[in-house]
């Protein structure tokens, strides 16, 4: 027996099993995290059923069921075997104060899912769960009762949404344009004054233009006020499940749903509609509700600008190192330096970007080209250009290494063949080697983009904001506004998850953003892997 035990221990099987468990643990970690994000992120769009619980004290609780847990033993010493409680999203923040509520299981008498309760998504205060008492217009009741009111409300909500769109258009496009023009004129006047040799007439003309713009502005603001009043025209009185009333303007409601009354197909349709609205809408309520469109847009813009900056430099450096430089100590040192750069923490790039791009370069640009706007900085503060450049520095090693890999995979015969046929070195680079190395360059670019998409720390110092007033791309000349601050998916996660006042209510939004970000990054990485495999296969085949 002892001999068998010794043999078993000597065989090392036990150690192998520990190693195998380590692999399994790593795989489970990846799988677990992905599953967690998927479940929480994808579940967000589903119209959840509403449950009405009757409690032992006769009160009702209406909301979405969000989970069940055993109460920590320390809180319930009287029940050593543990007691459970359920967590509900009860909404109605303005009435209850909190969005979520714990209910002890032994307090629940019965649970139903009434078909006539509705979930109202509001512009403020989060969701309202309850029924309709009446719909009125300027004090006159239009429809009373839950059924009547529901029917009357649907077209009114649509109307209100149209109005909101109009107001949005007026505010953003029309009034926004006027503000933009006023600011431009102000800067022009200041520029003329600074130049010291201006005609008073010119300034006077500009001032009249400003006056005109201001009158226009007043006019549009008046229209805006009128439209806003129209929003308040219809009011609705809602009742929560215990009978407390809440009156609000129909304009406050984004959409109303009766999830318990919806069929499966309807729910699926609604699922995709919700998904689309998150992708395409502007955020509301300090980013915790609404959509994430500006964050997606900002991320994409930043990554594009970064790509334009990083590819030429990375490719040139790789070509130099692999094709032109004499291989020796210097190139070895440079390779080590490039590798080191890849290992430098991203926050250090942020610090460098802030000091060098924002303060040194941006500050100089401001004094040279934008003195009229000072002391308000134009380029001397964080912006999308500086953030992109910072990330370009961060990702340049990725492109260099990948391109080098691509170049080293090109068989030697190709080069020699091309040169032997009389092509110059540049021609064989351009016509033969570059096309062959293209997958490598592309792999590098994709990896760089994937890294840049997920990187947050350097952006926090170089120009990302929680809420950007304008996109970096619009119809004002020169269309691309490099100096503007922007929103970013990764920063959105940090900001909403950690800086919003109501973290619990914001969590679903964070999971959705996380899901989108992770999906983008994983798809990018997988495509890079696929491309690399393709490249390896292609040259293996051709080398034979």
């Amino acid at each position: 027996m002892r001999a068998r035990i010794k043999k078993f221990l000597d065989s090392g099987t036990l150690f192998v099993w520990f190693c195998g468990t380590a692999v399994a643990a790593s795989l489970l970690l990846v799988g677990g995290v992905l599953l967690l994000i998927m479940v929480n992120g994808l579940g967000f769009f589903w119209p959840h059923a509403l449950v009405d619980l009757t409690l032992t004290d006769g009160t009702h609780v209406l909301g979405e069921l969000k989970g069940e847990e055993v109460i920590p033993y320390s809180e319930t010493p009287a029940f050593p075997e543990g007691k459970t409680r359920v967590r509900l999203k009860v909404g109605n923040r303005d009435l209850y104060g909190l969005d979520f509520r714990w209910v002890d299981t032994d307090q629940i008498v019965s649970a139903e899912s009434p078909k006539d309760v509705a979930a109202f998504e509001r512009r403020e205060w989060g969701n309202f769960y309850g029924r309709i008492r009446e719909v009125s217009r300027g004090g006159d009741v239009v429809a009373s009762g839950n059924q009547e009111g529901w029917k009357a409300l649907q077209p009114l909500i649509e109307q209100a949404n149209d109005l909101h769109e109009e107001i949005e258009h007026l505010q953003r496009d029309v009034i926004g344009d006027i503000n933009y023009d006023i600011e431009e004129t102000r800067l022009k006047i200041r520029e003329l004054e600074l130049s010291g040799q201006h005609e008073p007439q010119e300034v006077a003309e500009l001032q009249t233009a400003t006056k005109q713009l201001e009158t226009q502005y007043e006019k549009h603001v008046a229209t805006l006020r009128k439209l806003s009043r129209q929003l308040d025209e219809y009011a609705v009185i809602l009742v929560e499940t215990n009978g407390r009333e809440k009156q609000l303007a129909v304009g406050q409601i984004v959409k109303a749903l009766r999830p318990n009354d919806m069929g499966f197909v309807e729910k699926i349709l609604r699922y995709f509609m919700n998904f689309w609205s998150v992708l395409s809408e502007e955020p509301r309520e300090a980013n915790t509700e609404g959509g994430i469109f500006p964050a997606i847009f900002g991320t994409v813009m930043m990554v594009l600008i970064m790509s334009v900056a990083v590819v030429p430099f990375g490719v040139l450096a790789a070509f130099y190192l692999r094709e032109y430089a004499r291989q020796g100590l210097i190139v070895r040192v440079i390779r080590i330096a490039v590798n080191n750069l890849a290992g430098v923490p991203s926050i250090v790039f942020g610090v460098f970007g802030l000091g060098f791009f924002v303060y040194a370069v941006g500050g100089t640009l401001d004094t040279l080209f934008y003195p009229e706007a000072l002391p308000t900085p134009t380029f001397g503060t964080g912006g999308i250009l500086w953030a992109s450049f910072t990330l370009a520095l961060l990702t340049v090693p990725v492109v260099i290494v990948s391109t080098e890999e691509g170049l080293s995979a090109v068989p030697r015969e190709y080069r020699e063949g091309s040169l032997a046929l009389g092509a110059t070195k540049f021609e064989s680079m351009l016509r033969v080697i570059l096309p062959c190395a293209l997958p490598g360059i592309l792999t590098g670019l994709i990896l760089a983009v994937a890294r840049a998409t997920g990187e947050v720390a350097p952006l926090m110092l170089t120009g990302v904001v929680k809420l950007a007033p304008a996109l970096p791309l619009d119809h004002h000349f020169p269309f691309l506004h490099f100096e503007r601050k922007f929103m970013h998916l990764g920063f959105h996660i940090f900001d909403v998850g950690f800086q919003s006042p109501n973290v619990e209510a914001a969590k679903p939004m964070v999971y959705v953003t996380t899901l989108i970000l992770v999906m983008v990054v994983i798809v990018l990485n997988l495509s890079a892997v696929a491309l690399r495999n393709y490249m390896q296969k292609k040259f293996k085949a051709s080398a034979v």
Partner: protein, 764 residues
């Protein structure tokens, strides 16, 4: 070929070639140019990229360097003021405004202004109506404003205010001085002349401490209270007065009041410091008497009124601090905390900075010195020319000074003194800060008021970085390295082709996502299931041993080859099963092991506090971030061990286990080492996870259950608020530089090891 160029041009000008038949020479030249051009551009681009890599390091260094620059000085304008007709210069004070544009000399109730740097006198538009009577003493009330108390021959004290009115004309700043006087009050009821005076305006009214010519010390306060009058609030004032009768009073040479009007400090000619409690103005009480050695000639509080600068006749300059014993409580004690560079003669003036813990001292031989209390250094020492300095003021922006010597020379100095608070030792060694009992490492960069003493001890943050790194590596290393060994040595290649990329996907996870999950999902979860986690650490190894032994008895028909899917599935099921069991046992484990409340148990057994966002959470989150890095590189180096070596070992009769331990692991160990180094580099600089999943408190203990603050998170937290070019800004650059240097060393080491390993493998 070079001669071809002119010919090419000639050919072209002589007869333009037909478009379908381009000149051979031209096209060849063009091609050559293109080739040269491309070589130039590529070389340039290559070098530009490489240059920028080194540029980053250089730039960080340039931004950090000014922190350690020595302060320097230069002399500005020197004006001779009219000293004729009067007795020696006494009872004088000088002052200068924020922009060092206007300075003044206040002397026996006369005030004259000068514009700097030109030094031209400014005529006063309106001179206040001074109360008649000769001025016999003068005291400056420290603080942002130029407030003086003037003591007269008949024992009265008159407040005097100097203000600077700033106007803008065509964007040009114009500063005009204005002098106003306040209501005089009787400070010595005996009507004797005021010999020594301390004057301070507090929130509840002005206070004056007066030593009369005959050596009696009186304390007077104009208590102001608001009372409801007939039409509006009226300010009523009441004169509170007391005489201090303590031994040594008659020997007082300097008096000092604090800004709350709660204590009076006196320095005597025989070198003693007397400290009175004057909270109840009518019954002052001597709290203590301390010896400073020789005759005290100058006293001043530093901003915040907690540190006291004491200058003596011998020229010594020391800083004292009032300390309240936290155990005993009671009266504050005075303690000398540091000595600074001495002067050659008696210290004649001390002027504190209005924005930091720096101060200026001047002596009777004309020497001026600039010190900083927190960093315990004397920044500037200007040698004297022999004429005693009678009054000095440190400029409000700490960038200069105005001094007056007894020959009537009024001199301005300019200081380059950007970062007085940072020295190597104040950053990396313990410092005795105001209000603390002993020297400590503290990072606390910003406080509520100007009087806050910034505490720039970098060690707590470096410690936090180490703490996070150690715990994360402790968790990640075994998982990643063991996993790599299994994947490289025992796994079937077809499974490996799936498993490796899956683990590597984890490397692509944005760290902000890991941070969010760690902070908002895992941290609260861990708080609930901590006992289950402890159980997992105990039960999983046990379960592995048991299942492994049991597995040996399974028919091989079921098991198949080792390293196949069945075996991997067995590991996964084993893990999931054990984790599930542990979660179910959560309450029971807490009951059995931790006395039914693990937080209390930790507190009472080890004295450890449990925070929700703690180092354990970080270990898991950062571990997840580096496992793929370490795993992937280790796996590469393990599976790159030349196969014929392994085959040889097996052929000689070694078991796979012997081959693994005696050959593979040993020859691949440099690769595993470099994997660990690269992983280390990644953990050290990780920002988002730490930022989101620790409390970011710069504490210094290795407690696994509380948070910490790392260099990287510190940059992210404080950089947005750090003013450009300030000390904090540069210190954060220093933090960045430290990270840069550390990761560079680690990565270079890893890269060199890897290159050597590659060279060694290629020999076989």
């Amino acid at each position: 070929m070079n001669q071809a160029d002119p010919t090419a041009n000639q050919v072209e000008t002589a007869s333009p070639p037909a478009p379908s038949f381009p000149s051979k020479i031209t096209s060849r030249t063009l091609r050559r140019w293109a080739d040269h051009g491309a070589r130039g551009v590529i070389t340039l681009g290559g070098w530009a990229t490489i240059f920028s890599i080194f540029g980053i390091f250089a730039y960080l260094f340039i931004e950090v360097a000014p922190l350690f620059y020595a302060a320097s000085w230069s002399q500005g304008t020197s004006v001779h003021i009219d000293t004729s007709g009067e007795a020696p210069l006494e009872n004088v004070s000088v002052g200068i405004n924020e922009y060092r544009e206007v300075g003044y000399v206040l002397r026996n109730g006369d005030i004259s202004f000068y514009r700097f740097p030109s030094g031209t006198p400014i005529p006063l538009k309106s001179v206040p109506d001074f109360e008649t009577g000769e001025i016999t003493a003068l005291a400056r009330s420290p603080g942002k404003d130029h407030v003086y108390g003037l003591g007269t021959r008949i024992g009265r004290v008159m407040p005097l205010y100097v203000t600077f009115r700033v106007t803008f004309e065509d964007d040009v700043r114009k500063t005009e001085p204005v002098v106003t006087s306040g209501e005089p009050f009787e400070a010595a009821p005996t009507g004797e002349p005021v010999a020594r005076l301390a004057y301070r305006e507090t929130d509840s009214g002005p206070i004056a401490a007066v030593l009369t010519g005959s050596g009696r010390l009186f304390l007077t306060k104009m208590q102001e209270s608001e009372a409801e009058g007939l039409f509006a609030l009226e300010t009523e004032s009441e004169l509170l007065q007391a005489e201090i009768i303590d031994e040594g009073v008659e020997a007082l040479s300097v008096l000092l009041l604090d800004d709350l009007g709660e204590t009076l400090l006196g320095g005597t000619k025989d070198g003693r410091l007397l400290y009175w409690d004057i909270q109840d103005i009518q019954s002052p009480r001597l709290m203590g008497m301390y010896s400073a050695g020789t005759s005290i000639t100058a006293l001043s509080y530093l901003i915040g009124d907690r540190s006291i600068v004491v200058g003596t006749e011998k020229g010594t300059v020391s800083v004292w601090m009032s300390v309240i014993d936290p155990d005993v409580g009671g009266d504050p004690r005075l303690e000398k905390i540091r000595d600074l560079a001495s002067h050659n003669g008696a210290v004649s003036a001390v002027s504190p900075s209005l924005r930091d813990k720096g101060f200026l001292t001047a002596d009777v031989s004309g020497g001026v010195a600039l010190h900083h209390s927190t960093s315990d250094q004397t920044l500037i020492q200007i040698p004297g020319n022999g004429s005693a300095i009678v009054a000095a003021m440190f400029a409000p922006k700490t960038d200069g000074a105005l001094v007056l010597d007894d020959s009537g020379r009024l001199i301005t100095y300019h200081f380059e003194n950007e970062h007085p608070e940072s020295t190597f030792s104040s950053l990396f060694f313990p410092v005795l800060y105001e209000g603390y009992e002993e020297p400590l490492h503290i990072w606390q960069s910003t406080g509520g008021s100007d009087a806050f003493e910034p505490k720039f001890g970098l060690w707590p943050i470096m410690f936090g970085t180490l703490k996070g790194t150690i715990y994360a590596m402790l968790l990640a290393t075994p998982l990643a390295v063991l996993g790599a060994i299994y994947t490289a040595m025992f796994m079937r290649p077809n499974i490996r082709a799936v498993v490796k990329p899956v683990v590597e996907i984890m490397a692509a996870f944005p760290t902000v996502v890991l941070g969010f999950l760690a902070g908002l999902w895992f941290a609260p979860l861990l708080e609930k299931i901590f006992p289950a986690l402890v159980a997992m650490f105990l039960l999983i190894p046990l379960a592995v041993v048991l299942v492994c032994v049991g597995w040996q008895f399974l028919p091989s028909r079921l098991k198949g080859h080792s390293g196949n899917v069945t075996e991997l599935a067995a590991f996964v099921v084993l893990l999931i099963g054990t984790v599930w069991v542990c979660l179910q046992l959560n309450h029971q484990v807490e009951f059995w092991l931790f006395d039914s409340d693990y937080k209390q148990w930790l507190q009472s057994t080890f004295g450890l506090a449990y925070d929700q966002r703690n180092a354990l959470v970080i270990a898991f989150a950062m571990g997840m971030a580096v496992i793929p890095t370490i795993f992937s590189i280790s796996e590469d180096s393990l599976s790159n061990v030349p196969p014929h070596l392994i085959a040889g070992s097996l052929a000689l009769g070694a078991t796979p286990w012997q081959t693994l331990t005696k050959l593979v692991i040993i020859s691949a160990s440099p690769g595993v080492f470099s994997a660990l180094m690269i992983g280390l580099g990644r953990v050290v600089g990780e920002t988002m996870i730490v930022l989101m999943a620790t409390g970011n408190t710069p504490v210094m203990d290795m407690n696994l259950f509380n948070g910490f603050r790392t260099l990287s998170a510190n940059i992210a937290v404080e950089m947005p608020e750090a003013p450009h070019g300030g000390t904090l800004y540069r210190l954060l650059f220093l933090a960045g530089l430290l990270l840069f240097v550390f990761t560079s060393i680690v990565n270079t080491l890893a890269e060199i090891v890897r290159q050597r390993l590659r060279a060694r493998y290629s020999q076989f």
